[in-house]
Amino acid sequence: MSGHTVAVLLDDALVTVNRAFGVLRRRNVPIEGLALHPSGTAGEARLTFVLKADAATADRVAQQFHKMIGVRSVMVLANGDSPTEAKR
């Protein structure tokens, strides 16, 4: 099973970040490591985690984030890939 790195750009608001963590917890997403940084754009944060799952699961996780209010973009990086924005 190949791993994926997922980067989510989202509103830098506690409630939004909390909701994003909630998605990972509630959807029982197998993750390794979790980091939250300012993205460099004011009011925007970047949530990054490594997903120990196949491409189909990675896509489902991306879609769960996509429909979350406050999420601006979702990037999924498979092993050996160049980063691409997950299609909506």
Binding site: D11, V15, G22, A56, R60, Q63, H66, K67, I69
Partner: protein, 571 residues
């Protein structure tokens, strides 16, 4: 011209501006400024419930029946936590409920103040969005935004938490000022991630090709058909292609019962022929459903021969529970209409004949003659098939789903996803307010009815003529059935005592009727239905009646239980 307004007054005005007409609520300390402002806004009719859970369920019922947002209000702490079950139910069934909660004043937040609770944290996983308004200048915009979020795309509940000092804060208010969009994220695009039109087009073409080549196709219509008002389109698709239609629990009334192409409900308590049809189908067109485990049984053995076309507004649903051959992200009405145009006319006579071969005669037998079927027929006749049925959760819910002959769109409302007992009575109050000229029947078991029967007082005080049907079998029947089938008939804690419902109704000033035999049905149900106000009918049904067939939890749709286990049947 500007004027000085308090946050509470702004909140009321924002609700009026959003077109809100009914608010279900219960006052308390932290929401008192709102209640102080409320009488100045007669456009907002307030319904005083007896428990905040009922406010949330009533708002949910109102939303489902009207297609508009349902609003409920509660105070901080226990008021807010009592809303939780109702919000979770609305979340699971995609109902646009807007909850407004009072909160302790800002300086007290985080200090475990009296009646403080982190309702934002508590409701994060069961709301589409929630807001704590820390700045009164944002209040009007937050309300407008919350309304839009609740209704946009796939609907769902939102919560607005307003600290008491924000409600009391006065600011200069310009009536013409446009609410500021407080959301930092890019707006203007659909809240629901939609596929580009090109890929929708590809999807429709691919779906039409699959349908053309199918020998045993099926349409599965879910709640999305009702939410998208896609009745005519789904019917047109079925009639143009001759493909039979299955309606899920929340899809019931999306397609007329008794239509020659209507098969019934699938899943755990679905009819044998419906589940067999799924297991034999080679193409399934799923419209607005999530292939819930109560529908699929064990997904590994679900529809083993079928290639699935899945039409859903929510991209994250496609492929979530079952693998799909064609996923089309979009509005059920729009996509189905395009699919109707793309498919070639055809018939499925051999396949329909095949399915008719699966039909079993009902095996249920009832001691005495007061069967669920007869009860439901009497309600249908008394209301001339014109009423809205709201069901609770349990055996009666399945009987209604299987046996009530729904003809009118969106005339069946139930707590499907969450399965919240106690839903029917308060939700029916909301349905009445959304459809004041229609009749609404709340059907419950003796368990669920006792959870929210205090709402009879609300009905009397607020003049809500809900007709209540109580199926009394002296048991928590569905759990008892599972105990009979899977737990060695050990009826642990499922016998349930009931008060004398007629005397109880009388105490509330509500006419009550008790039916013990089928011969008494027409008169009792007819009289209850004709009451100008609320009425209650108690049906003394067979104590150990079961819902058949049944797919055991986690089992395959191919292996239904069609009779009680040997040695356990009604002895």
């Amino acid at each position: 011209m500007s004027e000085m307004l308090s946050g509470a007054e702004i909140l009321c005005r924002a609700l009026v501006d959003a077109g809100v007409e009914v608010v279900f609520g219960y006052p308390g300390g932290a929401i008192m400024p709102f209640y102080h402002a409320l009488p100045d806004h007669p456009q907002l009719r307030h319904i005083l419930v007896r428990h905040e859970q009922a406010a949330a369920h009533a708002a949910d019922g109102y939303a489902r029946a009207s297609g508009r947002a349902g609003v409920c209000v509660a105070t901080s702490g226990p008021g807010a936590t009592n809303l939780v079950t109702g919000l979770a139910a609305a979340h699971m069934d995609n109902s646009p409920v807007v909850a407004i909660t009072g909160q302790v004043s800002r300086p007290m937040i985080g200090r475990d103040a009296f009646q403080e609770t982190d309702i934002i944290g508590i409701t994060l996983p069961i709301t589409k969005q929630n807001y704590q308004v820390r700045d009164v200048t944002e209040l009007a915009a937050v309300v407008a935004d919350a309304m839009a979020v609740a209704l946009d795309g796939r609907p769902g509940p939102v919560l607005i938490d307003v600290p008491k000092d924000v409600q009391n804060q006065k600011i200069e208010w310009h009536p013409s000022q446009k609410p500021r969009d407080t959301r930092a994220g890019p707006r203007g695009q659909s809240l629901t991630p939609g596929a580009s039109p090109g890929s929708q087009e590809d999807g429709v073409r691919a779906a039409a090709r699959l349908i053309k080549g199918a020998e045993r196709p099926l349409i599965m219509a879910g709640h999305g058909v009702i939410l998208a008002d896609a009745y005519a389109e789904v019917r047109a698709l079925a009639e143009k292609t001759g493909i039979p239609v299955i309606t899920t629990l929340l899809g019931i009334s999306a397609f007329p019962d008794g239509h020659p192409l209507h098969l019934g409900m699938p899943g755990m308590h679905g009819e044998v022929h419906v589940n067999r049809a799924i297991q034999h189908a080679d193409v399934i067109i799923g419209i607005g459903l999530r292939f819930d485990d109560r529908v699929t049984g064990n997904t590994a053995s679900f529809a083993p021969q079928a290639r699935i076309i899945h039409i859903d507004l929510d991209r994250s649903e496609i492929g979530k529970n079952v693998p799909v051959a064609v996923g089309i992200v979009g509005d059920a009405r729009d996509i189905t209409r395009r699919l109707v145009a793309a498919v070639e006319p055809r018939r499925c006579e051999r396949w329909l004949e095949h399915i008719r071969g699966f039909v079993r005669t009902r095996t249920e037998s009832y001691r005495g003659d007061l069967s669920p079927e007869a009860i439901l027929a009497s309600i249908y006749e008394a209301s001339h098939g014109e009423c809205t049925i709201v069901t609770d959760v349990g055996q009666h819910q399945m009987w209604v789903a299987k046996l009530y002959p729904y003809q009118r769109p969106n005339s069946h409302i139930t707590s499907g996803g969450l399965g919240a007992m106690g839903f029917a009575v308060p939700a029916a109050m909301g349905v009445h307010l959304a459809r004041p000229n229609g009749t609404v029947w709340a059907i419950s078991g003796d368990g669920g009815f006792q959870m929210n029967m205090a709402e009879m007082a609300t009905m009397v005080q607020e003049g809500l003529p809900v007709k209540m049907a109580v199926f009394n079998n002296g048991y928590l029947g569905m759990v008892r059935q599972w105990q009979q089938f899977f737990h060695e008939k050990r009826y642990s804690c499922t016998p349930i005592w009931s008060p004398d419902y007629l005397k109880l109704a009388e105490a509330y000033g509500i006419p009550g009727y008790r039916v013990k035999q089928a011969g008494e049905l027409a008169e009792a149900v007819g009289r209850a239905n004709a009451q100008p106000g609320p009425a209650l009918v108690e049906f003394m049904i067979e104590q150990e009646a079961n819902v058949f067939p049944m797919i055991p939890p986690g089992g395959s749709l191919s292996e239904p239980i069609e009779a009680a286990p040997a040695g356990a049947a009604g002895d």
